[in-house]
Symmetry: C2
Subunit: 314 residues, 2 copies
């Protein structure tokens, strides 16, 4: 098994670079001091970092899983503005003992996540380090719509999510307990499956506020409520629970956990948005509550939820 | 001394964010899923990472020094395309034992480097880690000029640099030997001083190829020669040696080292460019040689230089 250190930077880049996706927006790609991209509309930009043993574990995730997740959580941030992602810059820091297989897998995961959306990796940096760090900056462009922030929900809006929740947390529970009872849930944790494009669709349907669910519905909906200065009231009976979360909870003998995971589990990365009325919510979205006048908090079934949500490995 | 871990992420961000510079290009700043920027022309983007004990040492550098260097080496990459830098995304990973003072210093250094150029920090990410990692993605825009790559030098061009060389290496030599003989050189190592804007100026004067000198003239000029498919012939007598490098070399009793540092020392980040004729080289630039037909290599005084250039701490 060849390692990062044995191969050397130039040889590694020569293997890594051809596996990366490219984008039609690219005017000049990797290899010079900077890349050059065309931007239609305004530039939308976001950064997320994954650190070994904090955001992923090598005994659970392959390089491709880490690449997929690094890409997907950043694409979701761009989509959450109602913008179209176009390109990533990727920084990889890794110990010299890291298998080359991990690094090439990382490129494959980035490509698998990006290619269906026409997103390219246009540059980045590579360094030695004592643990693996993958920092991704995603860029996108607005296409004639205003960016949708978290701050513009209005009292009377309906609140909706673009996908079923709790799957990633159900996978995390299996891995952390060492009991693999449902492969789909494990996969949802290792490779989150937000529907990229749902955010743009919401923007085109008149969404007033939006974000992606990275830290769990309870924590993230409270953030949106605070940013918009109103209360979000969620009816838990209407929250879509992912079937894989339900199956996992039942197999673990704790069927009630499925709803708890859907409410407080993180890393699903589905869109959460508010719309001016139920009739404009796009197909495939689930209405889970409403925005009402109030002190900028979240209520679930009329009460403040106890669980503060996802805290990665803490 | 309060640490990163004691303070917690939210409190730290509340202290950190107000110290960061902002930019007129900002439509939406930090705090949402993504930032939004206006882009005039095409987007130019580059990423550089600094890893503790590989690119900097805490016994040498303050947080402000690290922030300055992280910003400046990225601004130089944008300038090296003949583009105008506008914004940074900054990722900080740090152990929970990191003093808050370091983190706030980092923000100050970023601001000091960026503010004179109207560059803002528009977003980023923060995470725990077992060592400090600062990853910066810089964005800029072309202003009616084509991006200047490394690949378009032509035989017959003159080769020039935008500043005196060897200062950073002279500072590094002092620190690594534990003999502080010249404060200016040490400062040039801790806080590189490329003239941001020299790249745009070169582009407006018709530069054919350009890059910034991060790994030393010997190594970087060879890269430009290879990318352009011609030979670069440098006359060492014309290479501008920084006075602080000369003073350091003399104080250390090895006056000949000054030229060696100017030729092979890294991290000065001054621009290296080729121009179609001597008459168009902007004021303040130094002509050091010419591009000639040949096999894509560098010659110094007619010979291939032995020293392969800067290798950080290796």
């Amino acid at each position: 098994m060849t390692t990062f250190g044995e191969m050397g930077e130039d040889a590694l880049i020569a293997l890594f670079a051809p596996r990366l996706p490219s984008t039609d927006a690219e005017i000049l790609g990797p290899g010079d001091d900077a890349a050059v991209l065309s931007v239609d509309g305004d530039l939308v930009v976001s950064t997320d970092v994954l650190v070994e043993n904090r955001h992923f574990r090598l005994e659970w995730s392959t390089g491709a899983d880490v690449g997929w997740r690094a890409a997907m959580q950043n694409l979701a941030d761009i989509d959450a503005m109602g913008a179209v992602p176009t390109a990533l810059e990727v920084t990889l820091c890794a110990p010299s003992s890291t298998p080359v297989e991990f690094v090439l897998g990382l490129a494959d995961g980035l490509r698998e996540a990006c290619e269906p959306h026409g997103v390219g990796v246009v540059g980045g940096d590579l360094s030695g380090a004592s643990e693996i760090v993958v920092a991704v900056t995603a860029m996108g462009e607005t296409h004639g719509t205003e960016p949708i922030t978290r701050a513009d929900a209005l009292a009377g809006d309906v609140v909706a999510v673009a996908g079923a929740l709790g799957g990633a947390k159900a996978g995390y529970e299996q891995l952390s307990r060492g009991e693999r009872v449902d492969a789909e849930a494990v996969d949802l944790f290792l490779r989150p499956q937000p529907r990229i494009g749902a955010g743009l669709e919401a923007a085109l349907h008149g969404a007033t506020a939006m974000m992606d669910l990275s830290d769990g519905l309870a924590r993230d909906a409270a953030r949106l409520a605070r940013a918009s200065g109103l209360t979000i009231a969620v009816d838990s009976a209407t929250v879509p629970v992912h079937p894989a979360a339900q199956r996992t909870a039942e197999a673990l003998g704790e069927p009630d956990s499925a709803l708890a995971w859907a409410l407080s589990g993180g890393e699903d990365h589905h869109m959460l948005a508010t719309f001016p009325r139920a009739s404009v919510v796009p197909e495939g979205w689930h209405i889970i509550g409403s925005a009402v006048d109030g002190p900028g908090t979240l209520l679930v079934d009329g009460e403040t939820p106890a669980d503060p949500g996802w805290d990665h490995f803490s």
